[in-house]
Symmetry: C2
Subunit: 302 residues, 2 copies
């Protein structure tokens, strides 16, 4: 990659990223040239996600977790399409690149590479306000999962409890680092067994209600969610909190038993209908939320 930074700074990215140990065999040609060369099937899935300091992560977050969290969040878009992530490009904007920061950041990158069996294909460094832009690549499973494939009367599922990301943020503020804000619980092992049954799918990044609404809009359907304490962490507000990175998907109800067998973490939360809106019921009472999604900018001054 070319980047208009000084030789010293280019040296940092070469030094710390060249020494990472890759875990997938996807890379034909990695760091050190103008482009990476990546092995592919007939098609590949790709997505870009930018995490900004003070918006998507706290300004004083340990660079280890800046790396780990940014990479998980970016990989989530590949899982949500019915894909298996295998490699990524990193574009880092940093106000003052230095050994200490890069050492910690590359250590978090290495841990993510190990945990998710992926490879780094290349990196880019620019001087400026701290932000991490990750482009992920993945192999599609047999069914590529679009938002527009939800059909009337299908069941709606989530792959894990909602609100864990928000609880993780509270834990983080209490100086507890073992939490799902820093290490979101992406359902990486469920994607393959679930693939034959899923129709529409999205990752819950901005909040269940708003993300399910995106499925409904793309599919020209509506949805009704039946609230149950079984699938939330704290309270009904967890339905409009984001940062969970669980998948929300629809499937024909005839597959219900097969889906439930795959994992006890999967919850059936409602049904697709023809109302063209997402409504939430607590018992037989409709719930009205003030907002549909989590205000990501609440982190701005933290």
């Amino acid at each position: 990659m070319s980047s208009l930074v000084t030789v010293k700074e280019n040296h940092l990215i070469q030094k710390y990223f060249n020494s990472l140990k890759n875990e997938s065999s996807a890379i034909s040609l990695g760091i050190g040239d103008d482009s990476a060369e990546i092995k592919s099937k007939d098609t590949f899935l790709t997505s870009v996600d930018t995490s900004l300091s003070g918006t998507h992560f706290p300004k004083d977050l340990d660079p280890f977790y800046i790396a780990y969290r940014s990479l998980i969040i970016a990989s989530s878009d590949i899982y949500a399409m019915g894909g298996i992530p295998h490699s990524f490009l990193l574009s880092i904007t940093h106000p003052d690149p230095n050994d200490d920061w890069f050492k910690k950041f590359s250590s978090g990158t290495q841990e993510f590479i190990n945990d998710y069996k992926v490879s780094i294909a290349g990196g880019d460094l620019t001087l400026g306000p701290l932000s991490i832009s990750v482009t992920f690549f993945g192999n599609p499973l047999p069914r590529v999962l679009k938002r527009s494939s939800a059909r009337l009367n299908e069941s709606i599922y989530i792959t894990g409890k909602l609100g864990a990301g928000y609880q993780g943020l509270i834990k983080y503020r209490d100086y507890e680092t073992d939490n799902q804000f820093l290490r979101p619980d992406v359902p990486k092992d469920l994607v393959k067994p679930l693939n034959p049954y899923i129709n529409a799918c999205i990752d819950i990044s901005d909040g269940l209600v708003i993300d399910l609404e995106r499925i409904c809009n793309a599919s020209e359907v509506g949805a009704q969610i039946q609230y149950d304490k079984a699938f939330i962490t704290e309270g009904i507000e967890d339905l409009i909190r984001g940062d969970d990175y669980q998948l929300c998907f629809t499937a024909n109800s005839k597959h219900h038993e097969e889906i439930k067998k795959i994992s006890q973490d999967i919850y059936c939360i409602g049904k697709i209908n023809n109302t063209n809106k997402v409504s939430v019921f607590d018992g037989d009472q409709e719930v009205n939320f003030k907002t549909k999604g989590w205000d990501s900018f609440s982190l701005k001054n933290s």
Copy 2:
């Protein structure tokens, strides 16, 4: 793509990017889902490049040219590897997304798509200091061109005159928009005919001397450049100015005539040697530059 911005802002990116008319057939599934799906050969080339307001382009630059210039610069890394760019992902960070800005930006994006026969695969929007991160994808030509392939006694070539980017910046400051700072002259039509002859290759983004030094370091060789007014725009300083996006490549001297026949814009500027450094001669006098590359941050306050 998921991005923690409001519905209104997500709507902007959908509105302006969905209406773009793609020119390559590379995209199986484009904007509107969590990932894009892109058609591929056995391998694909990919590279990411971030352009920051006030660093890589002036803060008051028309969004049309922010798009056009950012996209050209990013595509240049694919050409430099011996590839033909076919599609890209855009990650935009913007402090105040609005219709006026997106209309102009998408218009510049469309003109680039038309000029370079490529397609947009997806986009992402984050609130923050203005920057454009472009991930480009391309098909490799038969020879993938690494920096490490330069060999002793090979000839060194450039695909066009140096200094045009810098001259373009001066023109831009004189309110002349037809210039090679806003529309760098990437040698897109030369990449295919030159491919059989090129060994090592790099795009001249940071300056000829520093970029050639990258080839020399990767190949464990040295280089001597024989300065000639024929291949510069203004003066010898053009050898250490960046932003030209011409290619610098090495080839076996036996191909000299075939290479010169491909374009009269191609100049032979020197030879690979075993000195492990890049030296520049003006006649028989060695030239010493204060810096090896252009100081990109001279734009910082413009």
